[in-house]
Subunit: 409 residues, 2 copies
C-alpha cells in the first residue's frame, strides 16, 4: 500500500467534507434496532455505481442501474434493512421510485438525484409508511458525524458495523475517501456496471466526472468485493454507490499519476471493507486467502481459487483446524482449470504442503501450526504460466448453519 494513504480513526462516510449522514429506527426490524440510513451530499455529487449480476435483481437495483445510465448528479443515498424489495414486480419498482420522491421532497432536491438500496426479506412489498417514517426521522438527524450511525443502521446479520475512511495527499492537497458497507451472508458478489446482499456507500471530495468515477469503481470492485465469498450465494440486492462532491478542488483524469494515487486510496478503502465482511461472515472463525499462481491463464487461476474458496469440505476443514490438503487438491482438480498435477506445489503460508502433486513431507504438526491461526494463506503454484488470482474466504462453522437454518427472513 502507498504510504501516502493514511487511515482515519473512526473514519466513515462523513469523514469527507460536505457529506452528512444519519441512522435511525424506522421500524423494519422487529428488534427495534436502527434500520434506515441516509447519506446526504450538501453539493451535487458526480457518481458511479455497480450492482449485482443476479437475474432476479431487486427493484432498487433496477432503479439504480437506470440512474447510473441516465447520468447527472446525486444528492442522497438511502438504505433500509429488513425488507429487500426483491421479487416485488411493478409494485416494488413503483415503491422504490416513490421512496426517491419522498426523499426529494424532504431534502428539497430533485428526485433524480436520489438512489435507494434495500436489504432483508425477499418477496414482500415495502411498507411505505415505514419509508416515510425513515425519512421523517433521518432528515433532521443528518449530521457531519453521523457516518457511524448510518453504518449501524444498515446491518443485518453483521455482528459489527463496517466503516472506514482514508486521507491521501494529491498535489499537496488532502483528499478523503469514506465508506460503509454491510453484509455477512448471501455473500459472493459479482458486481458489474449497470447491470452482493452487500450494500456499500463510498463518499469522496475528489473532483471527477461520472465516466471517470466508473473507470475507478469497476476495477476496484473487481479487486475487492468481487474477490470475497462467505457462502457462495450471490444476492439479489448487492449495490455499491460512489459519490464525489469535488470539494477538495483536486481534479483527476484517467492516465495521470493523480488518478492512480486516488485509485489506490479508493481500493484500500474497498479492500479494507471487503476483508471486514469476510472476517464478520456469518459464523466465520477464520479468514483464508486462497491464491493461485503460475497458472496457464488468469481464467484458470480464477476457476481454481474460487473452487477451493467455495468448497464445503475445505471450509469445514478450516473450521476444524484440519490441515487436510486432500480436499484442496480435490477442489483444484474439479475446478475446471487446466493444469498438470505433477507440476503443482501447495503452501500453507510459507510451509510446503504439496510438492509435485504429492505429499511434501512436512510434519502434520507444522501444518497444524498454520491452519489453527485466525488468518492464513493457501498458495497453489501450478508452475506452468503467469496467471494469478486470489480470493478471500471464511470457514464454515456450526454457527453458520444455526444462523441460516433459523433465520426466517
Amino acid at each position: 500500500m502507498n504510504n501516502k494513504i493514511e487511515f482515519i480513526e473512526n473514519g466513515s462516510v462523513t469523514s469527507v467534507p460536505g457529506f452528512k449522514a444519519a441512522g435511525v429506527t424506522a421500524g423494519f426490524k422487529k428488534s427495534g434496532a436502527p434500520d434506515f440510513a441516509l447519506v446526504y451530499s450538501e453539493f451535487p455529487a458526480a457518481f458511479a455505481g455497480v450492482f449485482t449480476s443476479c437475474t432476479f435483481a431487486a427493484a432498487p437495483v433496477l432503479l439504480g442501474r437506470e440512474k447510473v445510465l441516465a447520468g447527472g448528479t446525486l444528492r442522497a443515498f438511502a438504505i433500509n434493512s429488513g425488507n429487500a424489495n426483491a421479487c416485488t414486480g411493478a409494485q416494488g419498482l413503483a415503491n422504490a421510485r416513490k421512496s426517491c420522491e419522498i426523499a426529494a421532497e424532504k431534502l428539497n432536491v430533485p428526485a433524480s438525484d436520489v438512489v435507494v438500496a434495500s436489504t432483508g426479506r425477499i418477496g414482500v412489498q415495502m411498507d411505505m409508511s415505514l419509508i416515510e417514517k425513515g425519512f421523517e426521522l433521518a432528515v433532521p438527524a443528518l449530521s457531519n458525524d453521523g457516518g457511524n450511525d448510518a453504518s449501524r443502521a444498515i446491518m443485518t446479520t453483521d455482528t459489527v458495523p463496517k466503516a472506514v475512511a482514508v486521507k491521501v495527499k494529491i498535489n499537496g492537497v488532502d483528499v478523503t475517501v469514506g465508506a460503509m458497507t454491510k453484509g455477512a451472508g448471501m455473500i459472493d458478489p459479482k458486481l458489474i456496471a449497470p447491470h452482493a446482499t452487500m450494500l456499500c456507500c463510498i463518499t469522496t471530495d475528489i473532483a471527477a466526472d461520472n465516466a471517470t468515477l466508473a473507470k475507478l469503481l469497476e476495477p476496484c470492485a473487481q479487486d475487492s468485493f468481487n474477490r470475497i465469498t462467505v457462502d457462495g450465494d450471490m444476492s439479489t440486492n448487492d449495490t455499491v454507490i460512489l459519490m464525489a462532491n469535488g470539494r477538495s478542488g483536486v481534479a483527476i483524469a484517467e492516465g495521470t499519476a493523480e488518478f492512480e494515487l486516488f485509485r489506490e486510496a479508493l481500493l484500500s478503502v474497498m479492500q479494507k471493507l471487503a476483508r471486514e465482511m469476510v472476517m464478520d461472515g456469518e459464523g466465520a472463525t477464520k479468514f483464508v486467502t486462497v491464491k493461485v499462481i503460475n497458472a496457464r491463464s488468469v481464467a484458470d487461476a480464477k476457476l481454481a481459487a474460487e473452487a477451493v474458496a467455495n468448497s464445503l469440505l475445505c471450509k469445514t476443514a478450516w473450521f476444524g483446524n484440519d490441515p487436510n490438503w486432500g480436499r484442496v487438491v480435490a477442489a483444484l482438480g474439479y475446478s475446471g482449470a487446466e493444469f498438470d498435477p505433477a507440476n503443482c506445489n501447495i503452501y500453507y503460508d510459507e510451509t510446503p504442503v504439496v510438492r509435485n502433486g504429492g505429499d511434501a513431507g512436512t510434519p502434520e504438526a507444522d501444518l497444524l501450526d498454520v491452519v489453527k491461526k485466525r488468518e492464513f494463506v493457501i498458495t497453489c503454484d501450478f508452475g506452468e504460466g503467469r496467471g494469478e488470482y486470489w480470493v478471500w474466504s471464511s470457514d464454515l462453522s456450526h454457527e453458520y448453519v444455526t444462523i441460516n437454518a433459523d433465520y426466517h427472513t
Copy 2:
C-alpha cells in the same frame, strides 16, 4: 418405471449368477470395521467403466481408465476403504498395478483382468501389506451370497450399506442386474468415460460387448450419479464399473427393444443407489429434488437446477424447515441460466410459491407443510422453452459440519 422390472429382496452384486463377493477386515480402518471388498466373476466378463473428471485423479482411476481403453475382459474388482491412493505419484500407480498382480496370483486370473478402486485418505502411500492381507482373507471368503458383506466393506462415512438388484424378463428369460455403492461426502460426481468419492460395482448376466456396455453405462451415469450432490465436492476417486458375464444367454445390441429394456433395468438400479447416497449423505435429514422445466435450453435448466441444489443458503433453509423461497430465486438468478424473472413460477411439490417472479400468495403454513417433509420437490418453471433438468440434493445440517470438521482423514 417399467413394470417388468422387479426389485430383489436383499439384492446385491451376488444376486447375479456367476458372481461371488466378499468383504473382510484388512486393517486400513483403525476401527477394525470391514475395509476390503472383492467382487469376482467366475467367467470372463465384458465390462465398462466411468470415472471422476477430477484433474487430480487417483492412481486406481488412472489404471482403471487404462484398462477400459485397452478393452478385453474382467474377472475381479477389488476395493479398499481407508486410503484413497490419490496424489501418490509414480509410487501410487506402481502400488495399484501391484494390487492387480496380487489379485491375479491369488485368483489365478490374468492381471489385466483385474481393476481396483480406493477410497479414504488422500496423499498417503498404500501399505501394501494390508492389500496382501485383504486378498489373503477375501479370496477364500468369496461366496455366492457375499454381496452384502462386500457392500459393508466399502463404507466410509456412510451410515448404511447400499446394495440392490433387479430382475427383468427379456425375451422370456430372466436377466439380473446387481450393484453396490458407497459415498456420503465429497459427493458431486461428474463421471465421464475413461477419464465422485463414490465407488460403484454393477454386475449382470446380460451378454453384451464392451462397446455396447459403454453405451449403456455412460448415459445411465448421466441420469443417476451425475444428478446427485451432497456437498458439491467432486472426488479424486469416483469409479463405476459394470461387469457382464453373459450367463443369461440374452444378448443385446443397440437400437433393439431388448437393449432398451435392459437400459431401464440398469438405470433403475443406478438411480436407486444414487437416491440412497443422497438420503445417506453426510448429516442429511432431507431429500430434495430440484427440477427446472420449460427453460430456454437443457443447459440453462442444468445451470439453474445445480445452483439451487448446491446453494448453502437453500440447503440450510431446508435443514431448518424454512420455506424461504427468496434463497431459491437468488440462486436461480446467479446461476448463469438465461430467463426472464417475470415468467418464472415456482412450486414446492404442487403448492405454488412464486408466480410471475413474485410471491404467489400461498399462506406460509401451507409451504411449511411441504418443506417439513423428509422428501419434497422444488419445481422452477421458466415458462420459456422446453429445456428440462433435475438434480437430487440433501440439506446442510450441523451434523455435516461436525463430520467434516472432525474427520481427520
